[in-house]
Structures are given as structure tokens and as C-alpha cells.
């Protein structure tokens, strides 16, 4: 299930929904990304996420399909927020359910890595020096590239 929304999400409810009424799932891995109060040494008062409605959902669906092709998954949840968020606010939830924990962990990390480099979101930070757009990180490109070998 993929959702792009302004409002916050309930981590426990999302994870419970993934496994509700199902008894063949061995484990659920999950990652929640949060707004940090500091970036590049500067205080961050708020962060605004902009996205490309229409393309965002398609890009996320493609990334999820790729994860499902690579690992035996019993379910995937991706929820990504947009709009203005404050430090400590949740930005994104990725959760993957599988019979085996290795598949759950790996696919969850994969989804985050690809989402960071292949989904059309942009972050703007409010700092004491003014507003600035967050630059793409080379580490994120490298993290996404490590899954490349098996790319379909």
C-alpha cells in the first residue's frame, strides 16, 4: 500500500494492518524517517517537502514492484508526507513483511535507498540564515547504487 499525504501516520496501525489476520508472516521490518533539528551544522526550524503529484505515486509503485520482484514479500507499506514539517515530525514510513527476517530487512533498506534517489520529493529547510534547498547526498547515490547489480 502506497500513500502520499500531508497528514501524519500511525506507525503501529500501519504495521498492524500489514499483518492483520495473516499468520504466515515471520517478521516485519520498518523504517521511519524523521525531521532532524540540525543539518550541516545549522539549526533547522522547519522543513517543507514538495513533490510531483502523479509521478510520485508512479515512482513509488515502481520501486515497490522492484522490491517485490527481488524478495519474497507478504506485504509492503510506504507512506510519505509532504508539506511543512517540524523537527521530530515523521516524514516517511516503509514497512515490509516476509516469512524471513533477512528479506524483510533487506527489502526495507532497499526501498529507503531507492526512494531517496528515485522518488520526486524535494526538501527545503528553514535555518537562521534563511531558507535553502537540501542538496542530494553522494552517500544516497552510493547507497542506491549498491542494489544496482540485480536491477531489472
Amino acid at each position: 500500500m502506497i500513500r502520499v499525504q500531508q497528514e501524519d501516520f500511525d506507525v503501529g496501525a500501519e504495521m498492524a494492518r500489514l499483518t492483520a489476520g495473516r499468520t504466515g508472516i515471520g517478521g516485519v521490518a520498518c523504517f521511519v524517517g524523521l525531521v532532524r533539528d540540525v543539518a550541516g551544522g545549522d539549526a533547522v526550524a522547519a522543513m517543507t517537502l514538495e513533490h510531483y503529484p502523479g509521478m510520485t505515486e508512479k515512482a513509488l509503485a515502481r520501486i515497490v514492484a522492484e522490491a517485490e520482484a527481488r524478495w519474497p514479500l507478504d506485504g509492503v507499506v510506504v507512506v510519505h508526507r509532504y508539506g511543512r514539517l517540524l523537527p521530530g515530525d515523521r516524514i516517511v514510513l516503509v514497512a515490509t513483511a516476509s516469512g524471513h527476517r533477512e528479506a524483510a530487512f533487506e527489502s526495507c533498506a532497499f526501498l529507503m535507498d531507492w526512494l531517496k534517489t528515485k522518488a520526486p520529493f524535494w526538501k527545503r529547510e528553514e535555518t537562521p540564515a534563511g531558507e535553502r534547498w537540501v542538496a542530494a547526498r553522494a552517500e544516497d547515490d552510493a547507497a542506491a547504487a549498491r542494489w544496482k547489480a540485480g536491477e531489472s
Binding site: 510531483y52 509521478m55 510519505h80 524535494w122 542538496a135
Partner: protein, 83 residues
């Protein structure tokens, strides 16, 4: 042709979205960007360094040499930073 701009590209150009009708010889994203540059200083500044520009054609990532036509939706934006 529908154009969309995001993040700082949108701010420099000053619009989020516009419909344009470039001449017939504009058949790739690169040619479109060249044509846009001549539209004003905001465009010229936004497209000063192509290494910082990413492209989607009809909501799929594409390269600067991707072919485009009058019915396409072309989006121009900096590298993504979500997650």
C-alpha cells in the same frame, strides 16, 4: 507541451507550470532547455548548469536527449531529496 518545474528551478523561473509551443525543431529535452534559456534571465539562470537538472517525460525519469513532442508533459527539477 506542458512544462512543470520543481524546487529551486520553480523559484528561479517563477512559475510551477506552463504550456508552451516550441518550434517543430525542438525535438529533445536538451533542445527544449536551449529554447527556454532564451525566454528570459530567470530561465537562463535556472538552466545555467545542466548537471544539476533532472528530467521526467510523462512522469517517467528521462535523459536530456529524450525525444519529446507537443503532447508530452515535461518536468524539470533538481536531483530528488526525499525520504
Amino acid at each position: 507541451m506542458k512544462l512543470l518545474y520543481f524546487a529551486w528551478l520553480k523559484q528561479r523561473i517563477g512559475v510551477a507550470e506552463e504550456t508552451v509551443a516550441p518550434p517543430a525543431e525542438v525535438r529533445t529535452v536538451a533542445a527544449l532547455v536551449d529554447w527556454l534559456r532564451a525566454r528570459g534571465p530567470g530561465y537562463a539562470q535556472a538552466f545555467a548548469d545542466l548537471s544539476t537538472i533532472r528530467v521526467a517525460v510523462n512522469q517517467e525519469f528521462a535523459r536530456l536527449d529524450a525525444a519529446i513532442g507537443p503532447d508530452d508533459e515535461v518536468a524539470l527539477f533538481p536531483p530528488v531529496t526525499g525520504g
